[in-house]
């Protein structure tokens, strides 16, 4: 009998081990520091992310299955882990000052962000339904707590409770799908499932049911219509930095596992799930964009806009070609930068006594701070998909993949949706540039870490927008071993 694990297996999971250790160190550090010096915990968290990144680089060469197929260490995993670490770093940067503005300057916040990141990394790396589910719950549990971090704020409580209830419900659906898949294939290992199903009669209705349940379960996590109902309330109530995290972290991780399960475990059912995702994609982008128009709260507007973006992302999966999947990865990278950037701007407006989350609060920003207004404008242009921003490049490749795969109608619907989205993104720009600032004039709440996050996001979006080659190449290489 072979040993349960060897030193190579430990090498493979070293990034997760480093990050978990960092999170535990943060928890201890929190006790040692006097109150008011909690930002140190955040900076230590950034160090932990840096160390994890180093471990990721060191373990990148170990290309193997670890822990009897539970854990896959391949370029796909590497790509997602890199963007998860990027997310965690950006979120910590935008939270450092915001937490003290909101009066919830607690060290556990940073530890929970890191724990959620560990969960996401495990999700992306899992080669088995079981480790996938455990990673998903680690991520979700941390984010439930983060969403309710403003304990005295009723809306934050409501957000946490809604997110928790819907999360639990969706986990149930997901598990039902997994159970059926396990029963039909006799294994929880994704590759083994694929092998068994390849030899089976695919017209089994139970198999279709399993696929639908899995799609619905993941659909809740990435918030496709009609599983999006909880999202605007949860986004509005949660602390803005957590909203930024919720809008990118679980979505990116959700796409990682969605791609993994559908491409690795049930590619034999591609004929049926393409139809399913086609419908979901059209519904998601249309409902997201149309409802976003009516929003007055910028967090709610960005929530619906993020729903619409999921619709665009699903187009890549419908196309199903290597081009489509690599376009999804590129899109996710750009989406993370521009969405975190937009939420960081909301945080910039948030001050003591004012949440700054109404679109009206952006009035006259161009007079007050032309640089801040220009920054927000770039994020909005990127979200809408206007060149020369990364948002344009990402949409271009996703829609292009759809046309190449023969889904011209889908691409047309997506372009029409992009035009609709321009309306509500540009309304924010209009408010910033055309409206007078209401008196009395209030100061922004800038901070150096927030500026760093904004700078990273802006630079990333512009570099990808002007020179997308290397990034698309990276996404392309990341597919090795998946397709």
């Amino acid at each position: 009998m072979s040993p349960p694990f060897t030193i190579n297996d430990l090498w493979a999971i070293s990034p997760e081990m480093v990050l978990t250790t960092a999170a535990i160190i943060l928890l201890i550090l929190d006790f040692l520091l006097p109150p008011g010096r909690r930002a140190v915990v955040g900076y230590t968290g950034l160090l932990g992310i840096g160390a994890t990144f180093a471990a990721l680089g060191a373990s990148a060469g170990v290309r193997a299955e670890a822990f009897s197929g539970m854990y896959l260490s391949d370029p796909f995993t590497l790509f997602f882990k890199t963007i998860f670490l990027l997310i965690a770093a950006l979120i910590i940067l935008i939270s450092l000052n915001y937490l003290s503005v909101e009066g919830v300057d607690q060290g556990e916040y940073y530890a929970l962000v890191l724990f959620a990141t560990v969960g996401m990394m495990i999700m992306a790396a899992s080669g088995d339904l079981l480790s996938l589910y455990i990673g998903l719950e680690t991520m979700s549990l941390s984010i439930y707590v983060l969403a309710g971090f403003l304990r005295k704020d009723r809306r934050s409580n409501e957000a946490a409770l809604k997110y928790l209830l819907m999360g639990a419900f969706s986990s149930g659906i997901l598990l039902y799908g997994m159970t059926l898949l396990y029963g039909l294939s006799g294994s929880t290992n994704l590759k083994a499932i694929s092998r068994t199903l390849a030899a089976q009669d695919l017209h089994n209705p139970a198999l279709t049911l399993a696929m639908i349940l899995l799609a619905a379960g993941f659909g809740f996590k990435i918030a496709t219509v009609p599983f999006h109902m909880y999202l605007p309330d949860a986004y509005e109530g949660a602390p803005t930095s957590v909203t930024a995290f919720m809008s990118v972290g679980p979505k990116a991780a959700g796409f990682a596992v969605l791609l993994r399960v559908f491409l690795l475990a049930i590619p034999s059912l591609q004929g049926s799930w393409v139809q399913l995702f086609y419908v979901l994609s059209v519904l998601t982008m249309t409902v997201g964009n149309v409802v976003a128009i009516a929003q007055k709260n910028i967090k709610r507007m960005l929530a619906y806009s993020s729903i619409a973006h999921v619709g665009y992302l699903l187009i890549g999966l419908v196309a199903g070609s290597p081009l489509g999947i690599s376009a999804i990865l590129l899109y996710l990278l750009v989406y993370i930068l521009m969405n975190v950037g937009a939420f960081a701007m909301v945080i910039l407006l948030c001050r003591q006594g004012l949440r700054g989350d109404q679109i009206e609060d952006f009035s006259g920003l161009a007079q007050k701070s032309p640089l801040a207004a220009a920054t927000m404008l770039i994020f909005l242009l990127s979200l809408a998909g206007i060149p020369p921003t990364g948002g344009f490049v990402a949409k271009f490749y996703v829609f292009g993949a759809a046309i190449k795969a023969g889904y011209v109608l889908l691409a047309v619907i997506a372009v029409v949706n992009t035009a609709i989205s321009l309306f509500y993104y540009m309304r924010v720009a209009m408010v910033m540039y055309m409206r007078e600032e209401p008196s009395p004039i209030t100061a922004l709440s800038p901070s150096r870490p927030l500026h760093w996050a904004l700078a990273i996001a802006i630079l990333g979006i512009l570099i990808i927008g002007v020179y997308p080659g290397p990034f698309l190449g990276w996404a392309w290489v990341s597919l090795t071993g998946l397709l």
Binding site: P4, F5, I13, T20, I24, L27, P35, A66, F67, S68, M70, Y71, Q106, E108, A111, L112, F115, V118, G119, I122, D128, L130, S131, Y133, I134, G135, E137, T138, L141, S142, Y144, V145, G148, F149, R151, A160, G183, L184, S185, G186, S187, T196, Q200, P205, A206, T208, L209
Partner: protein, 170 residues
């Protein structure tokens, strides 16, 4: 005999599960949930999974439900109890959708006994090796990673509970 026992256990499990959600009094709901767990344990026994059945009774019906009851009794729920169920149309739509789902499930499973693919561990092999041994060995070999990862989940749960519940000292 075996089929009869299965039907009885399955019916009790389903009826008590429905009772959990339609009871107004949360204490009754919790007690019905214990009944559901017990009948599930019976079903596990029928599948020759004695260890899982025992764990089901000890951990779920025992430990977890006692905690549930503690929490329910600590909270003052009398006000909640009196509140009428709002949103009649929501209930109607919910029931309609549930009926559709049930119909779909009926279509899928009504065609006859669903044939699964047997895994590596057949009942004969399990009884030869010993039920507990098989579970234990798998947990510490093939499923070692998820098993260890659950400790991270537990840590997150503890930290989360403290963050949400603790009183500020300053």
């Amino acid at each position: 005999m075996e089929l009869g026992l299965f039907i009885v256990l399955a019916l009790v499990a389903m009826a008590s599960a429905i009772a959990v959600i339609i009871q107004r009094n949360p204490v009754y709901s919790a007690l019905y949930l214990i009944l559901t767990f017990l009948s599930l344990a019976g079903l596990y026994l029928q599948l020759q999974a004695q260890f899982i059945a025992a764990i089901q009774v000890i951990v779920y019906a025992g430990a977890i439900m006692v905690l549930f009851l503690f929490v329910i009794m600590l909270l003052d729920l009398r006000k909640e109890e009196q509140r009428a169920v709002k949103g009649g149309y929501q209930l109607l739509i919910g029931l309609l959708l549930a009926a559709i789902l049930l119909g779909e499930l009926g279509l899928v499973f009504g065609g006859g006994v669903l044939k699964g693919v047997p895994g590596e561990f057949s009942p004969e092999k399990v009884s030869a090796l010993g039920n507990t041994q098989v579970v234990g060995r798998l947990l510490f070999t093939d499923f070692l990673l998820p098993f260890e990862l659950t400790s991270v989940i537990l840590l997150v749960a503890i930290v989360g509970a403290i963050v949400l519940a603790k009183r500020r000292l300053d």
